[in-house]
Symmetry: C2
């Protein structure tokens, strides 16, 4: 998917919502357990109920991997089921030496047809560039993550005065462009969003941490928007587990719509 | 597996060799393609031919993941086949927010029975500690990796004068101990090994980069040994692809034995 296609979708839907498919077999409503593949059935119904309100879906790969080979089948079926107009994100946080990153790229971009994958920067350029060789595919590089541990290493200050996540954002712009690279910027650091936007004015940011983790949609939108919106804001638990009963899909839709209505207002106000 | 059990195995076998099971379906000898699971059959014959010469096996998870659900079955069968006395390493380089790292830990330590997993440090403490909660299991944290890109971020100097990989080694010692945490230190940085050993005198290091990547076994042993050896040196391609023909297993054994003989001499000389 191109950056322009992504922006067009945002304008059409008045939304920059990504629904996180962190589908936990232990939290799936019990009536779905009769299906042959309850995880896929859950995702299918969530996608059916929300795809006009969101622009992206982000399965968290760990939830599928934890189920073994069967989980990978559920993941593959899920990415195939997502409407082509929606941007798909494999939240896998991979990153390894070059020949190994090439294999991961093939797994997520070819064997499965994800548009993008999250990548950890620690191993440097040759761990990232193999993912950039696939036309129309995206790397979403971890910059400043939403978790508590994001303070441990990402805030180490370098001898040039920059924070470590700033080094990551600046150096990685030599490898990729705003057309094939995005950054993960947690909603839990609203006071840093303005500065991060200055470092990467044209890149899209994938923003986790709104909702269960406590980030404010208004703050990150106010400081994070660029001229093409530039934000993809993820919400998982608050939407997909809005109800644990047979009405889970319609309740998920209700929650997604609440977010989308707020996003529409923020786009009108700040974008 | 405990640190003591690992050291006992090193003494018994006069070896600190880890065989990297980077098994590529495209490089498996053609006669194995008749088997239902050629990747597992290849691994099985490599394990049969080498398990008395090495102390550990390290499947590179990307190679299995690239094959989809079938690859995960091959991986699971492989880890079950490895003799219990050998240390098993899932080279997965995972690391995510706490609840997600917990899922990865369950996948590799419970669904599969790996002794250890490689973990990327970028997301900090709460991405690492979930792996440490499993008794008898190990985190192998990326410190200074063997690839060219290891210079991009790992050598950023902090304002306290430390290199970034040094920050990782020092800070992470508050989370784990030499009994449940190791570090990845590439053999391609022999001149840094002495300094790294000073930072973590008692920890085991997993050392990739000998062989195809050009690191010297003698140099890293001289500077890296501690009183319990303290090194697990990985070799993959040079051993498992020693021959592409029907004699691949016996040729792998010949290569592994060459390394083991050298290791025995180095243990006598420096340990």
């Amino acid at each position: 998917m191109t950056r322009n296609e992504l922006f067009n979708q945002i304008k059409k839907k008045n939304s920059y919502l990504c629904v996180g498919l962190d589908t936990d077999i232990n939290k799936v409503p019990r009536h779905l357990l009769e299906y042959k593949d309850p995880v896929f059935e859950f995702n299918k119904q969530i996608i059916d109920a929300t795809h006009d309100l969101c622009i992206a879906y982000k399965p968290n790969v760990a939830f599928y991997e934890a189920l073994g080979p069967k989980g990978w089948e559920s993941l593959q079926k899920t990415v195939e089921y997502i409407p082509k107009e929606c941007f798909t994100i494999a939240d896998a946080k991979r990153g390894d030496i070059g020949n190994t990153s090439s294999l991961y790229a093939r797994a997520f971009f070819k064997e499965m047809s994800f548009d993008s994958i999250t990548v950890a920067p620690y191993m440097g350029e040759d761990s990232v560039t193999p993912f950039l060789e696939f036309k129309g595919k995206w790397v979403i590089l971890l910059a400043h993550t939403s978790n508590a541990g994001s303070n441990d290493f990402q805030l180490v200050r370098s001898d040039t005065g920059k924070l470590f996540y700033e080094e990551v954002i600046l150096r990685s712009q030599k490898w990729g462009t705003p057309d094939n690279m995005m950054y993960v910027v947690g909603a839990t650091h609203p006071n840093k969003m303005e500065g991060i936007r200055k470092l990467a004015p044209d890149h899209f940011f994938l923003v986790p941490g709104v909702g269960a983790q406590g980030g404010s949609l208004e703050d990150i939108s106010k400081y994070g928007f660029n001229k093409e919106c530039g934000l993809i804001v993820n919400s998982a638990r608050a939407i997909i587990y809005a109800s644990a009963d047979t009405d889970f899909a319609s309740e998920a839709r209700r929650e997604a719509m609440k977010v989308q209505v707020e996003m529409k207002a923020l786009l009108n106000r700040f974008a």
